[in-house]
């Protein structure tokens, strides 16, 4: 990365602040749709950080796969289970939240002391390689060939598994036999009737 150091520092600061704020929003927002869109913000900021780390190919892959595929998938899932649901309050829930927050802050303190206390023997001045794409391609087709092929098998398995798990079940429906027709089984794909979420305000439009 041949940017000036000041530019690098400033862009790192902006990206880091954006990422942390968006991640907090993902976790803390009440509305799940806001969380989903902020998740896209987190992914884009991380891709910017990858560019600061001299990794152009992985930054592009991050945007393509995470923002383009995973985030859209999550949005579709939110739309499919779009049920305005008020969770039943559970007694003592704030204790759990407080305890979890405490544990997380403690974990962060532990990790940061570890990071700051460890003497990293850094390599000599970093020179960005000519093209990360060529290096990654060489790795994929020489020493990481087996994991690369296994990844394709894994993706195929995940695709088939997701289709099989998420598909609707066939429910046989015995139609009442009329006088002359024989009894026959009708196969239908019933969709569970779902209530549409009421819109706020006076407008009668469906959301």
């Amino acid at each position: 990365m041949n940017l000036a150091e000041g530019v690098q520092i400033v862009s790192f600061g902006i990206l880091a602040a954006l990422m942390i704020a968006a991640a907090l929003g993902v976790v803390l927002f009440e509305k799940i749709v806001y969380s989903a869109f902020l998740l896209g913000g987190v992914f884009i900021s991380i891709s910017g950080l990858y560019i600061l780390l001299n990794a152009d190919f992985v930054a592009a892959a991050q945007i393509l796969i995470y923002v383009g595929a995973v985030n859209v998938l999550i949005l579709f899932a939110i739309m499919l289970v779009n049920k305005e649901e008020v969770f039943k309050p559970i007694s003592g829930r704030w204790i759990r939240k407080a305890a979890t927050a405490l544990v997380c802050v403690g974990l962060f303190a532990l990790l940061s002391t570890m990071v700051l206390a460890t003497p990293w023997n850094l390599a000599a001045p970093i020179t960005a390689p000519e093209s990360t794409l060529i290096l990654i391609g060489k790795h994929f087709f020489s020493d990481y060939l087996l994991p690369f092929e296994l990844a394709s098998v894994l993706l195929l398995m995940a695709m088939i598994g997701a289709i099989i798990i998420a598909r609707r079940d066939f429910i046989p429906d015995i139609e009442a036999a009329s006088s002359d027709q024989p009894l026959q089984t009708v196969w239908r794909l019933p969709e569970r009737p779902r209530e549409l979420t009421p819109t706020q305000g006076s407008s009668n439009q469906r959301k």
């Binding site: 150091e5 690098q8 790192f12 990422m19 942390i20 993902v26 976790v27 799940i32 969380s35 998740l39 987190v42 992914f43 950080l49 990858y50 780390l53 001299n54 990794a55 992985v58 892959a61 991050q62 796969i65 995470y66 995973v70 998938l73 999550i74 579709f76 899932a77 499919l80 289970v81 049920k83 649901e85 969770f87 039943k88 759990r96 939240k97 979890t100 997380c104 974990l107 962060f108 990790l111 990071v115 990293w120 850094l122 970093i126 020179t127 960005a128 390689p129 990360t132 990654i136 790795h139 894994l154 993706l155 398995m157 995940a158 695709m159 598994g161 997701a162 798990i165 998420a166 609707r168």
Partner: protein, 103 residues
């Protein structure tokens, strides 16, 4: 002053802790999946930082990041399918009510 490895590691640690907090406290099942994505991204950020600062010649960390992204995509697909199946069965996405395996 230059970008240091520690900055990226600290950032990844913060993202990881936020992800764990969301993973444990959220009651919406989709949000739990989002928190898992945050965790995986924190790990990716660590891998990329190490790849750039400790191993800039043979960037093996980037190769690992690509593999992690692949697994994350597969995980998201299967996880959302499972959530859809549970939603059809139980009519809710509240994590507190998925207690089928509780004894």
């Amino acid at each position: 002053m230059q970008l240091q490895l520690e900055y990226f590691l600290l950032l990844a640690a913060a993202l990881f802790c936020i992800g764990i907090y969301g993973l444990i406290t959220s009651r919406n099942a989709v949000r739990v999946l989002m928190s898992i994505e945050l965790l995986l991204n924190a790990v990716n950020l660590n891998l990329m930082g190490f790849s750039n600062f400790l191993d800039p010649d043979t960037i093996r960390g980037q190769v690992f990041t690509v593999f992690v992204i692949t697994v994350a995509a597969a995980e998201a697909a299967v996880g959302l399918a499972i959530i859809l199946a549970i939603y059809r069965n139980r009519e809710t996405i509240d994590m507190e009510q998925f207690n089928l395996l509780k004894w």
